[in-house]
């Protein structure tokens, strides 16, 4: 990835991460602490699907190394799973 591809990757991931954190705020009244994790999940998910697993799903075109559809899909999938996991963890009894 380079230039516009990296910028797009960061923008998409931050937006998806923010959406994930907003969902956590609404459903579980989660704190600001959960925000970095949601954004990191989106960044990693987006990167993984674009860079590593993009060969299977490169139908959305490419912007300077970023495979658009897989990048968005990866960010959404991994952020959704991180939100679900966080909700699950919040339900677990504390020590």
């Amino acid at each position: 990835m380079a230039g516009v591809g990296i910028a797009l990757w960061i923008i998409v991931s931050v937006l998806v991460g923010l959406a994930g954190w907003a969902a956590l705020r609404v459903w579980a009244k989660d704190t600001l602490q959960a925000l970095p994790l949601a954004v990191v999940a989106a960044l990693l998910g987006s990167f993984a699907w674009s860079e590593w697993f993009g060969e299977f799903s490169n139908w959305g075109g490419e912007v300077e190394g970023l495979q658009v559809a897989p990048a968005i899909l990866g960010a959404v999938i991994v952020t959704a799973l991180s939100v679900l996991g966080r909700l699950q963890a919040l339900q677990e009894p504390k020590a």
């Binding site: 799973l81 991180s82 963890a89 677990e92 020590a95």
Partner: protein, 195 residues
């Protein structure tokens, strides 16, 4: 979560324990699993379609022949340990490469499928790590060190590595995840993975 017993030191800091044991970080292990599984699957499928692996074993034979070669000094042999070179020579002399090629191709494919699906994740990662170790012992670095490292992390995260996969579905259907792991006495002290 179980209460920590007084005087029992934790094996890892609290935040690191959370990374390896709670569903909140299961997404991280899903990505690691997919990465590792994809590599194994890609390598395995390629070998499954190659007659040098699946019928004659020629690929394994030439790999072993190259590995046991000892060049004149100061050049170093590909295999650093004599016992491992003897082991490869024994297998080569007995013609085991004919079935070993099939074993490697099938093993890599099955490990890849298991990791992608999250089925028996820790066992699949252990088998993968064992293969990485053997490739490295035979003198091939390639991507093996990175794959081995990812496999070790997946083994450490065994409780939640398959949470978003078959392991997770089975554990949610058939009952709770295993209880927190208690290590036996190490150097006179009881260690626990999580407190």
């Amino acid at each position: 979560m179980a209460e920590r017993r007084a005087g029992v030191p934790a094996l890892m800091p609290e935040w690191l324990q959370r990374v390896f044991t709670t569903p909140a970080f299961a997404w991280l292990w899903l990505v690691a699993r997919m990465y590792l599984g994809y590599h194994w699957l890609e390598a395995g499928i390629e070998k499954l379609g190659d007659s040098r692996w699946m019928s004659t074993g020629e690929a394994v034979k030439s790999f072993w022949e190259r590995a046991i070669t000892v060049p004149p000094p100061p050049a170093r042999p590909p295999v650093a340990y004599d016992w491992y070179r003897d082991f490869l020579r024994f297998m080569l002399d007995h013609g085991y490469y004919t079935w070993f090629g099939k074993l490697v191709a099938l093993g890599e494919t099955l490990v890849g499928i298991a990791l992608v699906l999250g089925a028996l994740t820790a066992i699949a990662a252990t088998v993968g790590a064992f293969m990485n170790m053997n490739f490295m012992l035979a003198g091939t670095a390639s991507t093996n060190p990175v794959l081995l490292l990812v496999a070790i992390f997946l083994i450490l995260a065994w409780r939640v590595a398959g949470y978003w996969g078959v392991d997770g579905v089975l554990s949610r259907t058939m009952g709770a995840l295993p209880k927190p792991m208690t290590f036996p006495r190490v150097a006179g002290v009881h260690f626990r993975l999580r407190g």
